[in-house]
């Protein structure tokens, strides 16, 4: 592509890579429900889509601008509430808006509250900012019982998404149609948030993250930067909220709770806050824990918490950083040589994982669930948690796993240090 500027010609190659990546993403999103049919899978995918938007919006604050917030669910939740009220108005014929455009309403609502609360929260930074966001989050949650007209009291506000005239036969009744709506908004939001990182505000936000003081000395008001980023982040959070409202057809105080704020923090961090696609990964993992795992075991939050704490301690860059760390190895052709030691690590990890699961599930059975006796089964193997044998097995797994881990970790470290020649 050549342009004429004055008397010089400039060639700018079409950024093919960009189109390819987004096109591929769109393709994957379109094809997924065909690969994983069934109601449960579609629900899972839909929730992942919503969580991806939510986590990416959160990372605009955390990873891009260095702002740790404990109250991000406020924007998603209030966006969801406004959206659900508007949806009910559409249903009652008081307002005309295509249902597919409802996320925009959520986004604008989120941005509005971003303007409102952000004014207070962005006056401080660092730990104090984190505390204010916690306070505001608790405040909004605590006030949910005080305004039953808006928050719907204990039961929340329910709605029906099948309203208005069907468009080309699409009513958004079936789960699959909702999934495609979510996927479309997810793609648009991802592109939007990525594009933002390539704008002046996006780059200055990075500068604020790296050195908030210096930014003032290159002409920028750091506080103003943070405020604007928060408003944009709240906008996308509102979109996620509205999509959640459409998906579940109910919004309650839980949508603005500290639990949700904590959840998005966990998801973003686990995925990796330092890379754009990190929160995408984290959102997927989080939903797998929260929705899929929660069906298998009551202790899923404990597992998630353990996973999170281990990540903070040993892989603070998140899953994305683990993946990225392999890229230079692959590029230098050394990845294959790492595989044996990685495999050893994986085996050790599996042993420790088995030990953890066995211990936790047994404690759970004995302490909480013993009403029906202590017989239980894990992965198809039945045993009695009231007897000594399974506890000995757990202890054995811990011991062997710990030893294997120490060995494997040392191997991996040695391999990495010597460039794969050890």
């Amino acid at each position: 592509m050549a342009t004429m500027t004055g008397t010089t010609m400039h060639y700018r190659p079409l950024n093919l890579a960009r189109w390819l990546i987004w096109g591929f993403t769109a393709l994957v999103m379109a094809v997924l429900p065909l690969l994983f049919p069934g109601g449960f899978a579609v629900t899972l995918l839909s929730q992942m889509g919503v969580m991806i938007i939510f986590a990416l919006s959160y990372n605009m604050l955390l990873g891009q601008t260095g702002m740790l917030s404990f109250g991000h669910s406020v924007y998603a939740g209030l966006g969801a509430f406004i959206a659900v009220h508007v949806l009910n108005m559409i249903g009652a014929g008081k307002v005309w808006l295509p249902v597919s455009m409802l996320p925009l309403v959520g986004g604008l609502a989120g941005a509005f509250f971003g303007v409102l609360f952000g004014y207070v929260t962005t006056r401080r930074s660092g730990t104090t900012f984190a505390m204010i966001t916690l306070g505001i989050g608790e405040m909004v949650f605590a006030s949910s019982l005080m305004f039953p007209d808006f928050f719907g009291g204990e039961g929340g506000i329910s709605t029906n998404r099948v309203v208005g005239e069907p468009f080309l036969g699409i009513t958004f009744g079936p789960g699959r149609q909702v999934y495609y709506l979510i996927a479309a908004w997810c793609l648009v939001s991802m592109i939007g948030m990525y594009a933002w990182t390539q704008t002046p505000l996006g780059r200055i936000a990075n500068a604020v993250r790296d050195n908030p003081e210096r930014v003032e000395f290159i002409g920028y008001n750091t506080q103003r930067v943070r405020y604007l980023v928060l408003i944009l982040s709240a906008f996308f959070a509102g979109i996620a909220g509205a999509l959640s409202a459409l998906n579940f057809e109910i919004v309650s105080a839980e949508n603005v709770s500290a639990v949700r704020s904590g959840g998005v923090l966990l998801a973003t961090f686990i995925g990796g806050a330092g890379v754009f696609f990190g929160p995408v990964l984290g959102a997927i993992v989080f939903i797998l824990f929260a929705v899929a795992l929660s069906d298998l075991t009551k202790a899923w939050l404990l597992y998630l918490g353990l996973f999170f704490v281990l990540m903070v301690m040993f892989v603070p860059g998140g899953l994305a950083s683990l993946i990225l760390r392999q890229v230079p190895l692959i590029a230098a052709g050394r990845f294959k040589r790492m595989l044996p030691s990685y495999a050893q690590g994986a085996v050790a990890g599996l042993l420790l994982l088995a030990a953890t699961i066995l211990t936790v599930e047994m404690i759970y059975k004995v302490q909480v669930d013993s009403a029906n006796g202590t017989a239980m089964s894990l992965f198809g193997i039945g045993f009695d948690a009231g007897t000594l044998a399974p506890w000995l097995v757990a202890g054995l797994l811990w011991g062997v796993g710990a030893l294997a881990w120490r060995y494997a970790a040392a191997r991996v470290r040695a391999m990495l240090e010597t460039g794969g020649t050890a």
């Binding site: 594009a195 933002w196 390539q198 704008t199 002046p200 505000l201 996006g202 780059r203 200055i204 990075n206 500068a207 993250r209 790296d210 050195n211 003081e213 210096r214 930014v215 003032e216 000395f217 290159i218 002409g219 920028y220 008001n221 750091t222 103003r224 930067v225 604007l228 944009l232």
Partner: protein, 258 residues
């Protein structure tokens, strides 16, 4: 603003922290286009004076005027927008961004892009060209993609200067630009400073006397929060008060040792 309005003028500036008065009535006048050095023993308050000039601190009393306008109490970004830019003694760069990105950030406000989130950075030719220009000036073109936090000390100091001048400010403040540098690195830095401050007003805090005497048109000596002398290098060299302030070591010795 007339031709004789000094670029920077401090009148009886005082700064107190709690009970301690660090700056005890500083009077300073720097003309436009002048290269002015501030020297003095450790703890004299040179960095504090810089902070007062650049908005990091506000004066307890007295006035600081930039091109005739009072800037006391204004935040740093406002003072920057009025045309004063400073570097830091302890390198203060954006460590996770590349060298090029560091410089591009430094030019964005000056080029008027402000808080835009609708411009695509890669399409901003003027920002790119200006950043590349500064990159060339500071001799870091070959390191443009390096992460700023991974640079060597001298490279970081060069980047620090680059960030300071990238926005095109008229008044440049450099806080100990050659601190921690070897002789050859210092000479290099001096050449760089000379190059980038052509036609601008430069105020420099320095300990290295050869740098000071090599670059400065005028020198001010700060001792215990007061300016005890402000004159041409020759006059300063011969000033008995200044000699006393350096605790017995004559200025000649200091220059020779350097």
């Amino acid at each position: 603003m007339t031709a004789t309005t000094p670029a920077l003028e401090l009148t009886d500036v005082r700064k107190r922290f709690g009970q301690t008065e660090i700056i005890r009535g500083v009077n300073l006048c720097v003309q436009r286009g002048e290269r002015h050095a501030m020297i003095g023993p450790n703890g004299a308050g040179k960095s504090t004076t810089f902070n007062l000039m650049s908005g990091r601190f506000s004066p307890t009393s007295g006035s600081v005027k930039l091109n005739g306008e009072d800037i006391g109490g204004k935040p740093p970004f406002e003072i920057y927008r009025m045309g004063l830019s400073r570097s830091f003694q302890i390198t203060n760069i954006f460590h996770r961004l590349s060298v090029f990105e560091n410089l591009r950030c430094a030019v964005l406000w000056a080029l008027g892009y402000r808080y835009s989130f609708w411009h695509r950075l890669s399409a901003l030719r003027d920002a790119r060209l200006r950043a590349e220009e500064v990159l060339e000036l500071i001799g870091m073109t070959h390191r443009r993609h390096a992460q700023a936090g991974m640079l060597t000390y001298a490279e970081q100091r060069a980047l620090e200067i680059g960030i300071t001048i990238a926005g095109g400010a008229e008044v440049i403040l450099l806080d100990e630009p050659t601190a921690g540098m070897s002789r050859s690195e210092s000479d290099h830095a001096v050449e760089l400073i000379r190059k980038v401050t052509v036609g601008k007003t430069l105020i420099m805090v320095e300990h290295d006397m050869s740098v000071v005497f090599g670059l400065a048109d005028r020198i001010s000596v700060l001792v215990y929060g007061e300016v005890i002398a402000s004159d041409t290098p020759e006059a300063i060299r011969g000033n008995p008060k200044v000699r006393e302030a350096y605790l017995g070591t004559t200025l000649d010795d200091a220059v020779e040792a350097a």
